[in-house]
Amino acid sequence: MPILTADMSAGTLTTWRKKAGDTVKRGDIIAEVETDKGLIDVEVFTGGTVEQILVQPGATVPTGTVLAIIREEPGAAPALAPTPSVPPALPSPVSATKQVAPAQAPSAAGRARVSPLARKLAADLGIDLTTLHGAGPGGVIRREDIERAAAMRAEAPVKEPRPLLDRPARLRQTIGAAMARSKREIPHYYLSATIDMHRALTWLNEENLTRSVTDRLLYGVLLIKAVALALRQVPELNSIWRGAEAVPSAGIHVGVAVSLRGGGLIAPALHDTDRQALGDLMRSFRDLVHRARSGGVKSSELSDPTITVTSLGEQGVESVFPIIYPPQVAIVGFGKIAERPWSVDGQVVSRPLIVATLAADHRVSDGHRAGLFLAAVDRLLQEPARL
């Protein structure tokens, strides 16, 4: 059961898209999982043959539980699928999954002293050996330790409190837990900049006249692309907090906050945001919003965002003071575009202005660099044709 969000502790497997014996390749959808964030398509991160299905539809299991075994190739050790997408950088508040996390890749347990029988039993039961302290001589993990851990997991709170709440309520709980943790653990600082959108909107209007109805761009996609490109200049904001340090992300995957009908929001990723042409990015954006609201978000889209963009301008909000979504280290908010007086070449003129706000993690960056980032966003929006 992949960890799709920082606070996800369990999920319900609803449907298998593949069966034992099927061949899969990296990126295939292998199963559907019901989570607090809705119905998620779970991708596999390795190719091979589905050797064994371990969790049946309808079962609610903790994150990290092995759902199936995929044999990568003849002779190779079986891979666990799907592997958790996001290492739990911040410890889950649900202690059960922390204490008795299920099996990870076999190599993860290579440093532990484990009896062969215990190792096999752990694999069969989905127990993570790295989380156990053996009661045997010198700390050796023996069969009894595995059985004890399995028994603890059976008693763990993946009981049935969740079905008592409907999905919006569970989603609210999930959001609340993530935001409370963020406020508790991340030293936020905020900067804002007012950006003149005259050039961007003028260019957009002209550009959309040349596009078919289905290919029109929204101004939001310009904001997203500008943020992605600005991150190249201040890459520390495009990092993931792991344990005690920020790890720069190889790719720029902007998570876009999407409000859901019925309440709540999710912020799935637009993969490689900085490398997509505006037309492609707009298609990806439309598709992502559609799937976020109707079901069918992929597991990697929930687990991969490296920064989040949220825009509340359409609700009339002047400026946003967003909360960082852990394990990310920054979030950008945009308010509404409003016609206001603005000085251009010494003349006061009316211009469409937008306030961009950055919340960033002071453990990772400081105001100077963050200021450069906002300046870069502004600069990029003054040359929209180059986005």
Partner: protein, 81 residues
């Protein structure tokens, strides 16, 4: 195409983007955004839906004319065969 048929097409397009909405109780002269909490992505999808079902390519400058059900029917009636 009659106005009733156009109205039905508009409601179908709205149903696609706001499936949870009770369209039967939609006030015809009150803005969709107010009644259905639509955002710009919804509006774009609405226009794309109308284009697909009625064959009308609506320029962005005309979006304000599509703000209500009555406005949509009026606007589209003048443009569909």
């Amino acid at each position: 195409m009659t106005r009733d048929e156009i109205r039905a097409a508009v409601l179908r397009a709205l149903g696609e983007i706001a499936p949870e909405a009770d369209l039967a109780s939609l006030a015809p002269d009150v803005e969709f955004r107010e009644q259905l909490d639509l955002d710009s992505m919804d509006v774009l999808n609405f226009v794309v839906g109308l284009h697909a079902s009625l064959g009308v390519a609506i320029p962005e400058s005309d979006y304000p004319k599509l703000a209500t059900l009555d406005g949509c029917v009026e606007y589209l009636a003048a443009r569909v065969e």
